[in-house]
Symmetry: C2
């Protein structure tokens, strides 16, 4: 049985910090006093007090100096803090003016913190600013949390091949580096600067200041929550913004999907690392190929103008592939082939060490390497083929971790899909909602969960199942599932 | 470049043998002289002549004593002979009275020899006997061919973890055992006896002699071609047969899905091997669990009587899981949850070394073992966990082969599904047709390819794509794909 005290202390501190953050939505509605705003203000203040009391109390009661964190504590900390933060984040959503049910509030908070972006709220355009800001903040925190987790924690837990990304200096250790604090601070600063740049671009192109701030937060986080029911399509319409705001969004969604560790190297003058990185190149290739296919298809088959076809294709492909989930058009109407492509793109995801989710580019690369090595071995059993990833040889452990990840991914996908079909959802809705939740995308396909739909009408049980899928997908499956293996709890 | 001569010689002999077999359908219609029968008779005679001439010529021109076959020759022989036999088998279908197009004849022959059972023929009930017998014979030959391939060839080619099934005596060799002839003969005899037993049972229960023969051949082969448009449902209806003919079919479909190598051991007095085998037990468990789920669902939600619900559930679950593809009811109407279960069951398949296809039970077992070992390692990085399969330790090579197989399987499935959507097929049709073809099941879901539909109306391109999927699935993917790796052709 691992020592829970350091884990509980850190979780307590996280919850307390989220409590402090709850004061920001209160400020967003200063000067307004409608009934909804007042209810929200009270909810945020009450929730902040609860979080500070509970989180602070937990941290204080487990206080102590953390020398090092074992792998098992790492798993507990990761899953535990994500769950605790979702519960805390749901508080103001269910207590406030929108009066979300407990299920809906938990779903909305889970979708926020996992940067999924699936929403059960209808009527965003008229919601109090505090409520909207809170949703965006959840995605923003979730995004940076994921990056730090992927750089500082998962490589040491060897989850699904993430050991590939252990920092060179600590290759031999399976303890988490003590310098994680410094790294986290640098990532956080970079992330904030990137968000600010996105905000400035949106604002300069004519988006209102509040909308620009919210969308900047959910773009860089590849989250996808919007302040409008019609999502990004609202701003792409003529007259509202004065330039290609959608292409700016494409740029920042991509920026959020590249490995943040390489940005830090680039800032230290090693910009080549970003351009030469195998994962970045493969990601760029995937974006180009899928955009070209979709653009060609909608121009040729649906008669879009080439430039409009390209803009729609690149925005929606990047939005789905990075797991952002903004929609600039109802691509459900683009025919079976485009739908098929979107369904596949959904699983791809972005690079490891970014805010995006999905299978991740490096896993596709490792799996393709495994196939290559294996087919070589089939025809030449006695020849030795060594596969490399970014110049370093891939070992058996990485192959097996990554291939096991794929197997588990599709097993979970099938289980969640069949589970959803228990609630009488049709096949397209069940399959795409399951895929979208596990890959933290947001919208699925079809009328209910598609880009023009809303998750509000789903049955309660389906929402809870999707919450589990979002958490599993976000924490790379194994981080959660390992807690259900009995031997995890052995001494 | 491997030496083609032994490969071509064997392929020539196979084609010539198929030519001889074409004389049987001629005998089936003796004494009848309708226009269709006469056209078919001429087609079968002409095709037989062509096959004997071409196959005999090929064998004669490459004649020589085969000492041993290398792995690369093994791959060429397997894929080459399957393709050549499909082409030869399609001849009488396109030349005969039914006048199938080249595409349809190739599809029907591929579906036959791969024991898939998807059909493009409408109006089976009134077709000449020779035509119907030929379709059944193709499945019967395909079934025994697959067993021999899985026992005598694939283990030595190490395809997708099949090295697990190398016979103990030849563990060290990667050449194909010279005693393959003996083994093939024993398997063939056993298969024939099993088919005869099935025929006697069907006949005793009141199926007509000709129908009993055809269905016996396609039951034991887990193929699924029927002599009736309404498939097995025709015989389940009251009054036509005098007993539970569907339960007899369940028994023989299961018999066809168990490892034939273990039957041979059982005949030598080691019957325990069959009962204690991990794969057989897991298969039985899967049948029981899925039957229970479906039976419970249709009794509870659709109001079937318990006994009728059980019969429908067990027949259709076994038919889909073993890849037979008979239908005794239109399960498309059983609601989303039952459809979801059928969709998953389709991928499962039967045991290695049987006539059934799909992912195969042993691969699921190995992948689950891999997950178990991996999660153990995550929480206890320094502990060594050894996984076993039927008492023998599983090594890294088997894990990697099996997990690579899963990855490739889902990649091919996704590619074929998206490819089918190019032909404007809806998502359920595209996904289920792709899954059904790769797993060699036969029917999919939905109105077009579901149990009450027919593949005839699909576009030509979709049929060719499905042919490729059937061949890939039947030959365990790698056997075909390895031929497309450039280094295969190196010296």
């Amino acid at each position: 049985m691992p020592d829970f005290r350091p884990v509980l202390m850190v979780i307590g501190l996280f919850v307390a910090a989220l409590g402090v953050a709850m004061l920001l939505p209160v400020l967003a509605d200063l000067g307004r006093n409608t009934q909804a705003v007042t209810a929200d203000r009270q909810a945020f203040l009450a929730s902040a007090a609860l979080c500070l009391a509970f989180g602070g109390g937990l941290a204080a009661s487990c206080w102590g100096r953390i020398e090092t964190i074992t792998t098992r504590q790492g798993f507990l900390l990761t899953t535990g803090s994500w769950l605790a933060l979702v519960c805390a984040a749901a508080l103001p959503l269910t207590l406030g003016g929108a009066r979300l049910s407990v299920t809906d509030a938990f779903f909305e908070a889970m979708s926020g913190l996992t940067t999924t972006g699936a929403t059960v709220v209808i009527g965003l355009d008229t919601m109090p600013r505090g409520f909207l800001l809170w949703r965006s903040m959840l995605q923003w925190f979730g995004g940076v949390g994921v990056i730090i987790m992927a750089i500082a924690i998962l490589p040491f837990l060897s989850v699904g091949g993430m050991q590939l990304f252990r920092l060179e200096s600590s290759d031999k250790s399976d303890k988490i580096v003590p310098s994680a604090d410094d790294l986290a601070l640098q990532i956080f600063a970079l992330y904030a600067v990137m968000t600010f740049a996105c905000f400035v671009c949106y604002w300069a192109l004519g988006m209102g200041g509040f909308d620009a701030l919210n969308h900047a937060m959910t773009t860089v986080a590849t989250g996808g929550y919007s302040t409008k029911d019609s999502s990004f399509a609202y701003f792409v319409e003529a007259g509202i913004t004065s330039g290609p705001v959608d292409l700016v969004a494409v740029g920042f969604m991509i920026a959020g999907s590249l490995p943040f560790g390489l940005y830090l190297l680039a800032l230290r003058g090693r910009g080549g690392a970003l351009i030469k990185d195998g994962q970045v190149r493969f990601f760029a290739l995937a974006v180009i190929v899928f955009t070209a296919i979709v653009a060609f298809r909608i121009v040729a088959a649906l008669g879009f103008e080439p430039w409009e076809g390209f803009r729609l294709a690149v925005f929606n492909v990047v939005s789905i592939m990075t797991g952002t989930g903004y929609a600039s058009a109802n691509y459900s109407a683009w025919g079976p082939f485009a739908l098929g492509i979107f369904f596949c793109v959904m699983f791809v995801g972005g690079c490891a060490g970014s805010t995006s989710c999905g299978l991740k580019i490096f896993r596709l690369q490792v799996a393709l390497s495994a196939l290559f090595v294996y087919t070589q071995k089939l025809s030449h059993p006695h020849r030795v083929t060594v596969a490399r990833y970014n110049g370093r040889p891939l070992d058996e452990a990485v192959f097996r971790s990554v291939l096991s990840f794929f197997f588990l991914y599709f097993a979970v996908f099938a289980t969640v899909s069949v589970g959803l079909s228990l609630f009488q959802l049709d096949a397209v809705t069940a399959l795409s909602a399951a895929g979208s939740a596990i890959a933290n995308v947001g919208p699925g396909l079809g009328d209910i969960v598609g880009p023009a739909g809303n998750y509000a009408t789903l049955p309660e049980g389906a929402k809870w199942l999707l919450c589990a899928a979002m958490l599993l997908g976000r924490l790379e499956l194994f981080t959660v599932l390992v807690l259900f293996v009995p031997s995890f709890w052995n001494r």
